[in-house]
């Protein structure tokens, strides 16, 4: 990891690797809840080094897309991670294939310390023999994750005692030590203070350079500040895709968010965060 660290690639739209990149390719993804199509025929192509934001009004199916990719809900279509088909695999198998996710409500193991949380996240491939022995020392990958997320000083604290923002960072840290190269984050900054948002954004930029990061978000200011590319979903379908500027200028997106009347008047940004508060 150290040589990659030295280069410190920045996330850019379309990925920063070029040929030979890791990718996640979603084709024709459809999730059908007893006749209600929460997601229909969604195509997404994500390259390593892209910090993609997934936005859209309530009920657009953003979280459902993540749920389908991680195997939580069954779907049809195809989800391929660098050529490996994920659809139909069990949740823990998909996780082992390098797809990690967080949840809208921070779900760390509150009774365990920060260090224990990270150690568990790092250990999916451990042998029974290793599991039956005690933890000794701190793995280098965990130390690195502690540093990246700024939790080094809190390593021995129970995760339940962390502030809300710190819990989300711990979750992101867990994805890092889990060795996930596709990170799906479901509203990571919901409920955070302004400073915490800023820090989370910088954290995403830091880790997004070497991974594929997808962020489901309602906060438009946050999106504009940190996204390298954006996909807009509405009613389970992809409405637009492109850079922040492209998406903001897209009349279809304005229509989705503001309704036709206001379409010309306002640029995407101010109104939506007011309009859309709840989770999809």
């Amino acid at each position: 990891m150290t040589h990659a660290e030295a280069m410190k690639p920045e996330p850019v739209a379309g990925g920063n690797v070029g040929m030979g990149t890791e990718y996640l390719e979603v084709r024709g993804l459809t999730v059908d809840f007893d006749g209600f199509k929460a997601v229909s025929d969604v195509d997404l192509t994500l390259f390593q080094g892209d910090l993609r934001f997934l936005i859209g009004p309530n009920g657009a199916g953003k979280t459902t897309v993540i749920d389908a990719i991680t195997g939580l809900v069954s779907a049809t279509g195809s989800i391929s991670k660098s050529g490996v088909e994920l659809l139909g695999k069990k949740v823990h198998k998909i996780a082992r294939a390098g797809v990690g996710r967080t949840f809208q409500t921070a779900s760390v193991f509150e009774q365990l310390t920060v260090l224990q949380n990270l150690d568990i996240a790092a250990g999916a491939g451990r042998s029974p023999w290793t599991l039956l022995r005690r933890r000794h020392g701190v793995l280098p990958a965990i130390e690195e994750a502690l540093e990246i997320t700024g939790l080094t000083d809190l390593a021995e604290k129970p995760a339940g005692a962390l502030a809300h923002g710190q819990k989300q960072w711990l979750e992101i840290g867990m994805l890092l030590v889990q060795n996930a190269d596709v990170l799906l984050l479901d509203e990571p900054v919901a409920g955070m203070s302004h400073e915490e948002r800023e820090e989370t954004g910088n954290l995403l930029r830091r880790i997004g350079g070497e991974r594929t990061v997808v962020v489901v978000e309602h906060d438009m200011d946050f999106m504009r500040a940190f996204a390298t590319s954006v996909t807009v979903l509405a009613r389970g379908q992809v409405v637009a895709e492109g850079s922040v500027a492209e998406v903001q200028a897209n009349p279809k997106v304005q229509e989705v968010y503001l309704g036709t009347a206001a379409a010309g008047a306002s640029s995407l940004g101010d109104a939506p965060s007011e309009l859309i508060e709840e989770n999809s």
Binding site: F103, A106, Q111, D186
Partner: protein, 372 residues
Amino acid sequence: MRTVLGRWQTWAGFGLAAVVLFGVAPVVFSDFRLSLLGKFLCFAIVAVGIGLAWGRGGMLVLGQGVFFGLGGYMMGMHLKIADAQVFGNEVPDFMQIAGVRELPGYWAPFASPAFTLLAIVLVPAAIAAALGFGVFKRRVKGAYFAILSQALAAALAILLVGQTSLGGSNGLNRFRTFFGFTLNDPANRRMLYFIAAGVLLVVVAVVRQLMQSRYGELLVAVRDGEERVRFLGYDPANIKVVAYTVAALFASIAGALFAPIVGFIAPSQVGILPSIAFLIGVAIGGRTTLLGPVLGAIGVAWAQTLFSERFPSEWTYAQGLLFIVVVGFFPAGFAGLGVLLKRRRKARGEPGGAPVKVPDSDPDTEKVGASS
């Protein structure tokens, strides 16, 4: 808490327990009381397993009587065959009375002591593992798992009552020898107590290792957020099966010791009531701790004997009340109460030593974002 205690303190703890169990108890107690304590130690062995599966793993095992009974009956069958052989009979005494002249086929292998001991370890473990895989892979948990395990206990008890070749509702009793030692001899009965005490120490040591290992941390993680663990790349079913199997194994061993110590094993030790009784001590002592279940099980059983000798009817109410109060107001049991007091003392600014870990006060609530 345990990180504060150094390694030598752990050894000192085990040493102290050994001195009390092997040195003090045999001197202080009469043979009758010692044998009674031996019985309580059997319950404590079951409790240690329940503490692991329920306290740490969040599996409300309401049917440990099944495994206790399996171990007890298998040991009982061997003892009956051995007794019959001593007296030169073809079949155990109760079968003679029933007019059975030939040993039933499934009894035959239990004539071998080695087979019996192996079966006591392997059969319940295999059943628990198979059952665990079937249940946990299908994500059956919480109350559904509890009901299922309890139904199993009820079913086995009913099944046993109907088996005349296993003594029906009387079960197997009047054991005369234990692997060649006559049980009339107080010295041999004392030996049985020592075996139970030794097994308890081993069982506690095993669970201590499990709790402190990475597996133990993982088990707590599964208890508190099973879905989250799944998204980290583990199959929680495998993790739960291990704890469930270990608990079943301990219950079986305890049953196998209970039969010769108490002198009988019957359907009344298998069904719903005894299965719940195993749980009471664990809950009162503190299910998430290592020693809470042990002390709780011994304490409750001891109190039951003590008080039911004097106030037979009142004790049942007192026990029920104690259970309700503890579960309702101190979900972490007496052990959790201790941690709570320590924390409060620390909060008042008194020097409390190293930082106290957050007590596992409410392990039943599962906090998972995935369920939405």
